[in-house]
């Protein structure tokens, strides 16, 4: 039974070890068969039942000592059987709920005792002993994958000497094998009943149902439609990303008596999904019902009218007189239909998976042979047959793995001669002339081939499969310009296909094309560059081009005054054509960092800048495309700024070509992080077209680029003022709903920048942007969370906005972002929390209401990220304003953690840390505690910083700390007076006051000590 247990039984955890048997119908039937086998064992095979196991079967039992009666000695919690093995050990031993059993006799006794707990006991036993045969007969009999020779050894030993024990062993082994076989057989039956749906089966069922659907009372359904008309080559209609989940198609069914049902047909069965999301074609894929094996079964469950009318349909088809047994017969009929479709499906299934569990079948085969062997006992002859058969089985399994490989290849191989589209033959005919013709014949064939619809996949694949691709690439390597041109014209078209692209690269086409770029013929160069642009869409190709010096040559194409030409077409038009093709190729290549550097090195930037000034959109698009792609590297951003490209990027924002606008916006997005660039955008009047483009909310890519550009431009206050004139903020808030995440990230970012001004904050509030923003806090996109938190933080500085945020539980959401592992999110959430606490009513109460919130904050002081630390210090500064919360913070150990941070050089952290320390001094003996944990000396050093805001915060902290005499001593030792004295003269009153206060404290202490000393 080892094989059955290992293969058929459904274990929860994969592999051996702590797996448990799930309670599934299959497992249950397996266990029941095993129970039956064991129970009958002692009566059917008394001799074998007495056989003592090699090792006891041991498991945790739920049986009680008291359950054991006659034939057992019960001493306290231990039960021993009176029956003993030869070595004197009892065959059954129960000790502390661990049961050890050493023979089938005892096993069947245990099962009898267990009564209704049988199933549990067997389950526990098998879970503890994954391969019981090893325990029973010894490790050499363990179930092994592949060829099993143990029986042969056993056989030999039986033949040699008449050892009765070996014979018994042999018998048990064969009996167990018999059981195994039986189990496997049964589970196979069960598995085969568990039919999986296929696209073809669904299709058949749908068309069957459609025949019986339509208007009127008598039809089974009002209608039944696929949600999508597009059928993928594998027969599925579900989009590919859903096919991954086994989904085949979606149907909208209108029964007579219920609302429309939107269902999913998947390989696992049919179930109700969340329905179509209104107005759009999207479907809520979530499963909302049980899984049914097919559509008819599903509908019988959902629609009584369906069952009724289904019956009528069949009834009408019959003679109307037989009305008595109407219901029954139709039931049967439907059942039959279901069955026949099921069986059809199982046949299809077989077809699809010819190699399904070959191993299992071959195991079965072997076992059949064993059974034969056992019953016939004509050993020698059968032995011969057996070895022959197993050799044959090995052959079969080898060849089957071969067919599997074939199946991995796309289907066309076994399509053979019959089903191929006519294009195959025609292209094949032309290929003959490509291979065996002189240039004249080749050109005619190439021109004729070009007339096929090369954008169509059939033709593309035909060209590849016939071996034409190799010929076309070989033609590139000839000296015949006309053949090269003709070949490139075809390659250019078919390289739209990914498979072809990879094939061209694999065949070394790119190397040859890079070589052709040296040709003096312009048309040839243009075509080559265009083909390269198509092929170089993947990394390997881009690398190949760089490594063969292609980038330099492509950049050379942009330098149009270079070469003279003798082509048929007049030259002038070809200048820009060549630049266009070159830019296209560079655009494709510019996806990798090394290629970007190579373009830079080859002097591409000034050339791109030159072409940026032209006015042909067809050149500008690839040029700007390349620029925006490259703008991810700092050197390009610098060049875009210094070479005056911003002006033209701005100019082309007003272009009529959406793609060009998008690339321009995207380039600005990437470059405008630099202040000068932002200013240039404004000076060239780029902000107005950007705000105009916002109206174009249909094109999401464009919108993402434009909002991105606005975000970065809004970092400058001057730009924000202009954006306000164009009512950009209102528009952005309006866009906050129902946009893809990449757009939302940019919008949130832009609003965050705009929010730095009060006017804009109130605009956002007025336009009801805050609820949308708060809602976005529940998302998962990291960049979005950072930006939204930042924006909300800015909004929270307005008390009025704060009321809204508080009302929407925004603070709670922000607080929960602190749990996010991303430090950027932690920091922006913590910064956002600061003004929230500052402006919320009953802030202290609110903070306390977040369970575990304060502990979370204190723990974040252990972060390694400076920004997180600074932001958390900021939050603590605000939290500590409430005395009760400060007490809680202190309990969580805020003082030592803050003190530990004191030795930092980061001015931002210093400032917020000093503020936090100053506010934390207000509780209990925290002042003393800071002194004890050595926070004072580093603080004094902060006064040497260049940042005045650090000075102020530090002076305040020192002023607080100086209330404790020991701290005063430490400060004085560190020379604080000298540093503070000039600060008393500061124009900043707070600083002045704090510095004076600190010195006063120190002075007072000195006076007091003097007084104490000298009385």
């Amino acid at each position: 039974m080892g094989a059955a247990l290992a293969r058929a039984a459904q274990w929860t955890a994969a592999g051996s070890g702590a797996g448990t048997l799930e309670i599934t119908p299959l497992n249950e039937s397996l266990l029941n068969q095993i129970i039956k086998f064991v129970e009958d064992f002692s009566t059917r095979y008394p001799q074998e039942a007495a056989f003592v196991f090699k090792e006891p079967l041991e498991w945790k039992t739920q049986l009680d000592c008291s359950a054991f009666g006659n034939g057992y000695e019960i001493i306290e919690a231990t039960v021993q059987s009176e029956a003993r093995a030869k070595d004197g050990q009892s065959l059954l031993l129960l000790k502390k709920s661990t049961l050890r059993v050493r023979s089938f006799d005892q096993l069947s006794c245990v099962l009898q005792i267990a009564m209704e707990k049988k199933l549990k006991e067997v389950q526990a036993c098998l879970e503890a002993n994954r391969d019981p045969i090893v325990q029973i007969l010894g490790p050499e009999y363990g179930t092994v994958e592949g060829e099993d020779r143990s029986i042969l050894h056993l056989l030999e030993r039986v033949k040699k000497g008449g050892d009765p024990e070996t014979e018994v062993k042999m018998k048990i082994f064969l009996l167990l094998h018999q059981l195994d076989l039986q189990l496997l057989n049964n589970s196979l039956k069960q598995i085969s009943q568990d039919v999986r749906l296929s696209p073809a089966a669904v299709n058949n069922e749908v068309s069957l149902l459609k025949n019986f659907s339509g208007e009127g009372e008598d039809t089974v359904l009002e209608s039944l439609e696929y949600t999508s008309d597009y059928v993928f080559s594998n027969g599925c209609r579900a989009p590919p990303w859903r096919q991954v989940h086994g989904e085949i198609c979606y149907l909208v069914i209108n029964p007579h008596d219920t609302d429309p049902l939107c269902i999913t047909c998947s390989t696992a069965g049919v179930f109700l999904n969340g329905g179509q999301i209104d107005s759009e074609d999207r479907i809520d894929y979530e499963r909302k019902s049980d899984v049914y094996k097919d559509i008819v079964t599903f509908l019988r469950e959902k629609s009584p009218k369906f069952v009724e009318n289904m019956a009528k349909q069949v009834f009408e088809a019959k003679v109307s007189g037989q009305s008595q047994s109407l219901h029954d017969s139709t039931e049967n009929k439907v059942d039959e239909e279901v069955k026949s479709s099921a069986s059809r499906r199982s046949i299809e299934k077989k077809k699809l998976e010819p190699s399904m569990n070959w191993k299992m079948l071959s195991d079965l085969f072997k076992m059949c042979l064993f059974m034969l062997l056992y019953s016939c006992s004509k050993w020698v002859m059968l032995f011969f047959i057996f070895s022959k058969m197993s050799a044959m089985l090995d052959d079969v399994s080898e060849s089957s793995s071969g067919t599997e490989e074939d199946e991995e290849q796309p289907v066309r191989h076994h399509e053979g001669g019959t089903d191929l589209p006519s294009e195959y033959w025609e292209i094949q005919k032309l290929a003959k002339y490509l291979k065996g013709g002189n240039p004249t014949a080749t050109v005619i064939a190439l021109c004729s081939m070009k007339d096929f619809n090369l954008a169509q996949e059939t033709c593309q694949m035909a060209i590849r499969d016939i071996g034409c691709l190799e010929v076309l690439i070989n033609l590139l390597d000839t000296e015949e310009i006309k053949c090269q041109i003709g070949s490139l014209k075809i390659l250019k078209e078919i390289s739209q296909n990914t498979l072809i692209r990879h094939a061209i690269a694999d065949l070394g086409g790119l190397e040859i094309m890079v070589k052709i770029l040296d040709s003096p013929d312009r048309e040839l160069k243009c075509l080559t560059a265009e083909t390269i642009a198509n092929v170089a869409r993947f990394k390997r190709a881009q690398k190949t081009i760089r490594q063969h010096g292609g980038i330099k040559k492509l950049v050379g194409l942009l330098d149009c005054d270079a070469v003279g030409s003798t082509s048929v077409i007049p030259y002038q038009a070809k200048d820009s054509e060549m630049a266009r093709c070159g830019a296209l190729a560079l655009w494709s290549c510019s996806k990798t960092t090394k290629n970007k550097a190579a373009i830079h090195k080859a002097g591409g930037i000034p050339l791109l800048a030159r072409w940026l000034k032209c006015s042909h959109a067809n050149i500008l698009t690839p040029v700007v495309g390349t620029l925006q792609e490259c703008a991810s590297t700092p050197s390009y951003r610098l060049a875009i700024k210094t070479e005056g490209m911003v002006e033209y990027l701005v100019k082309n924002l007003r272009s009529e070509h959406v793609e060009l606008q998008m690339h321009c916006a995207s380039a600005i997005f990437k470059c405008a992080e630099d202040k000068e660039t932002r200013d240039l955008v404004r000076q060239h009047g780029g902000l107005q077209p950007l705000s105009v483009l916002l109206a174009n909310s249909e094109n999401k890519q464009l919108l993402a680029a434009v909002t991105g550009a606005i975000w970065k431009c809004a970092i400058s206050e001057e730009n924000v003022a202009i954006f306000r004139e164009y009512k950009v903020i209102e528009t952005l808030v309006g866009l906050l709903t129902d946009q893809p995440e990449e757009v939302l990230v940019n919008i949130a970012g832009a609003l965050g920048e705009c929010c730095q001004e009060t006017v804009n904050r109130s605009t956002i509030r007025r336009c009801e942007g805050i609820p949308h923003l708060v809602k976005l806090l529940t998302g998962t996109n990291q960049a979005l969370l950072v930006n939204v938190a930042k924006t909300l933080g800015a909004c929270a500085t307005d008390p009025e906005s704060m009321i809204i945020i508080d009302h929407l539980d925004g603070v709670c959401l922000l607080w929960s972002l602190l749990k996010n592992p991303n430090p950027d999110i932690q920091a922006s959430a913590a910064w956002a929390i600061c003004p929230c606490i500052d402006n919320a009513k009953d802030a202290g109460e609110m903070v306390r209401s977040f369970v575990g919130g304060l502990e979370l904050v204190v723990n974040l002081l252990k972060s390694k990220n400076k920004e997180v630390l600074a932001s958390i210090c900021g939050a603590i500064t605000n939290i500590a304003k409430d005395e009760e919360n400060l007490a809680i913070l202190t309990d969580h150990g805020v003082v030592p953690l803050l003190s530990k941070l004191a030795n930092t050089n980061n001015d931002k952290l210093r400032r917020h840390l000093a503020e936090a320390i100053s506010n934390c001094c207000m509780w209990g003996r925290n002042r003393v505690a800071f002194g004890e944990s050595n926070a004072v000396a580093p603080l004094v050093r902060y006064l040497r910083s260049n940042d005045p805001s650090v000075h102020r915060a530090t002076a305040q902290a020192l002023c607080q700390l100086s209330e404790d005499p020991n701290n005063c001593i430490t400060m004085h030792e560190n020379g604080v007076v000298k540093l503070l004295l000039p600060m008393i003269g500061s124009t900043d009153e707070t600083l002045q006051e704090a510095a004076a206060g600190c010195i006063a404290n120190i002075r007072r202490l000195a006076l007091a000590t003097e007084k104490a000393k000298y009385g």
Binding site: I444, A445, K482, D521, T566, V568
Partner: protein, 206 residues
Amino acid sequence: MSRKRLQQLVDSLGHSTKHFNKSEVECLIKLFDKLVAESSSRFAAAGFDRSMFRDILHSAFGMTEEMMMERVFRAFDRDNNSCISATEWVEGLSVFLRGTLEEKIKYCFEVYDLNGDGYISREEMFQMLKNCLLKQPSEEDPDEGIKDLVDIAMKKMDYDHDGKLSFKDFEKAVRDENLLLEAFGPCLPDIKVHQQKQKCNTMYFW
């Protein structure tokens, strides 16, 4: 040739040929004279005969096909006197080397229209393409492949479906796809050789 006559010829040709300037015309005529003189032909005064012209086409423009060279000679030889004069030489080269697409289409069509009836027929195509395929021993009927090729070409270029190519058909086909200009055999200078030739010419000029 006397200086005066040369000057006259240059002047007249300089007007009639669009693609050469005067000095180029002069050089070409000098070249013509030189080649004629070298050949010590019977037509010394008149110009090139067939074989001489073929030699030139072969050595200077890399042409190899007998039939095409014959057709090119016919195209150059406007007055059909089996001799190419200096005027015919310069005017012919003007199209041959620097012709516009239009001129070249016209020239090529003339070359391919073997019987001069204004159409390229299937038979003419067959004649011109018959050496196109490498001999494959496996093929039973080598002509079959050529016939198929003629069919392909006809299908591609015969827009009015009358079973023969008119000038209109040919012109349209070439304008659609420039590669078809020399569809039935090379009758224009090979680009690579042509470039060498240009260099050579410059050498001659000096």
